[in-house]
Amino acid sequence: MSEKSELGIMDIFVNPMKVTMKQFFKSTFGKPATVMYPLEKRDPPPTYRGMNAIIWDLCIGCGICAEVCPNRCLKMKPVELSDEEHDRAWYGSHLAKRKHKPERPAINFGHCMFCGFCEDYCPTGAMTMTDFYEMADTSREGLIYPARTMKVDLEDLPQLPLTNYMMESPVLDIDPCIGCSKCVDNCPTNCIIMDVGPHDKTLKSGKLRNVENPYFDYTLCIGCSVCVKVCPADCLHMEPTSNSSLSGLTTEESPTEA
């Protein structure tokens, strides 16, 4: 390459100054690229991942958001629901009532990295991410948002089907099951029913008794694995689901044209 010899002594400043002069006039008589931040703000796109908000009317307290949070910045906290909130609950309000203590997520934004998994894996679409990003605070405690501060109320709720984004469902290992029905009590979608098991079982007392076992309605299961966690006899485990009705992570309905 002979580029080296092409440059003369005047190219020390002539060539670069051509560019800078041009830009100087451009930004003096035009608008510079800078955004004067506190006075003017740029609009985030609709997909922006900002601060979370939770539509309590849709939330069923399954805890999947806390499960998938890579930073564990999201915890399920017990809350007291008012009667109005009970009535407004669109999805499984009877469950929320039945449960002894309903739980709703609280977020520590000091740990949050805004990855958006909680939004993507929420089976009801209750967890949303807004485009609000100015949440700086002077203390770490100020970044901990209790469950009730995350609540938003929407007029027209999105009607989404329950979806198992976790790709797994619980499977019963029937022998150790003691028929305590804890899984039924805790299942957030009411997809478990207790029914008479296939065979009798010897209890500790020596009696032979027919034990009720849980049966799963996999079309309603969201794979939250709450039943697995509460099971006292460790008779449940998660297995990759083969249910074809469950869709993947597609949040956008229609693919755009190329």
């Binding site: 451009k26 510079p32 690229a33």
Partner: protein, 409 residues
């Protein structure tokens, strides 16, 4: 009327107030002879009046220089911002206003402008307040005396420069016959301050920066002075006034004034490069190359000491541009309706703007390259310039007298 004449009148006016004050003080202790009385007597003499007048003149020069300093810094910031597609300092007023809100607890009643724009020059005030209120740190293992002396030498030699150059033949704080020589002498005090602070910081970056600076300034002094020598030869004087008068008087085609930039263009180029290196601006700012040496010899300094270095650099830049104007651009010469002082400042600011554009357009060059440039390119070029001037001033008129050549120069 000259600046000094005006100051003399101001001095005469002010001693009418001052002498009664001192005499009153003398009268307080009648049995003893009092220094206040001696001082009052001295003020009434011619020497006392002159000293007062000098005091005023130097202060006015200093004020002009400092005002220019703020303007240059603001100009640099704004032009740099425009070059880089930014806005530059704009909202300093807003932050001052917020300080007011914080201090008083409620919003101040005054409001300047709704969008707060166009008052970014107050950023200099904010910077000054910041620098003054910052802690002055002296490293434990530094040489305390030299560490403190470094910035003092640097800033005092630079402020000294401000009193030395005239804005016009009437607006001059000092008019020494050897004026430009004194200016260059003041210019070359600074390496002592740089070396001192670089060594006293007890930091490897600072030391390398100081060494680089010393090497650079020393190697560029020689072509700098040699390129000035051409002008001195033509004018036959070191006096700025004489040099400018000579440029104003010599004419060229169509009676246009022939400033030194035209016959001595090589000298002008060499001088501009050397003075850039002398005031350590990009592309020659490698003593404080922030990429490899953090901040060079100013690494360990903080607060007002660091501010002194920055201010001194801008003052030196302003002084360097002023010297270039006097030597090559005809000083305060210019058409009538605009006063000569303004002509002078216009030329100085044009040079400064050119430097600002250079600074934000090119990278920094390397130590070995800068020395190669200084010794191998600029030194021969400045010698060639002197040869041209000798031919012009001595040999050509000699032949003109014999052979009756047209008088070009």
């Amino acid at each position: 009327m000259t600046l000094f004449g005006a100051c003399r009148i101001m001095a005469e006016l002010s001693i009418r107030i001052l002498i009664p004050i001192f005499e009153f003080q003398e009268g307080l202790f009648p049995p003893f002879s009092n220094p206040a009385g001696w001082f009052a007597d001295w003020l009434a003499t011619d020497g006392g009046l002159d000293t007062m007048a000098w005091f005023y003149a130097v202060n006015i020069a200093l004020m002009v220089g400092m005002t220019n300093l703020i303007l240059v810094i603001h100009l640099e910031r704004k032009i740099a911002a425009r070059i880089q597609d930014r806005r530059g300092p704009m909202l300093s007023f807003r932050s001052l206003r917020e300080v007011g809100e914080d201090l008083s607890g409620n919003a101040p009643s005054w409001k300047f402008k709704e969008n707060y724009s166009g008052i970014g020059i107050l950023q200099n005030v904010a910077d000054g307040i910041k620098a003054f209120t910052k802690e002055l740190i002296i490293p434990t293992k530094a040489d305390r005396f030299l560490f403190t002396m470094g910035p003092i030498i640097f800033i005092s030699s630079s402020v000294f420069l401000l009193a030395l150059f005239p804005l016009s033949d009437r607006f001059a704080a000092s008019s020494a016959p050897a004026g430009l020589m004194v200016i260059m002498a003041a210019f070359s005090i600074a390496p002592i301050g740089i070396l001192t602070s670089g060594w006293a910081s007890n930091n490897k970056y600072s030391m390398i920066g100081g060494m680089r600076s010393a090497a650079q300034l020393m190697s560029y002094e020689i072509p700098l002075l040699l390129s000035m020598a051409g002008v001195f030869l033509v004018a036959g004087s070191f006096d700025p006034v004489t040099i400018v008068e000579q440029q104003r008087e010599s004419t060229w085609l169509f009676g246009l004034p022939m400033w030194n930039i035209i016959p001595q263009f090589i000298g002008f180029v060499v001088f501009m490069v050397c003075i850039l290196a002398e005031v350590e601006r990009v592309p020659f700012d490698l003593p404080e190359a922030e990429a490899e040496l953090v901040e060079g010899w100013t690494t360990e300094y903080s607060g007002i000491r660091f501010m002194f270095f920055l201010m001194a650099e801008y003052i030196r830049g302003f002084a360097g541009a002023a010297v270039a104007t006097i030597l090559f651009l005809g000083g305060w010469a210019g058409p009538w309706p605009v006063p000569p002082e303004i002509w002078f400042l216009i030329k100085v600011y044009l040079i400064i703007i050119f430097w600002i554009f250079i600074r934000w357009s090119v990278p920094r060059i390397r130590t070995d390259q800068i020395l190669v440039l200084g010794w191998k390119k600029l030194l021969p070029l400045s010698l060639i310039n002197i040869l041209i001037v000798i031919f012009m001033v001595e040999i050509y008129p000699y032949f003109t007298a014999i052979v009756n050549l047209p008088e070009v120069f």
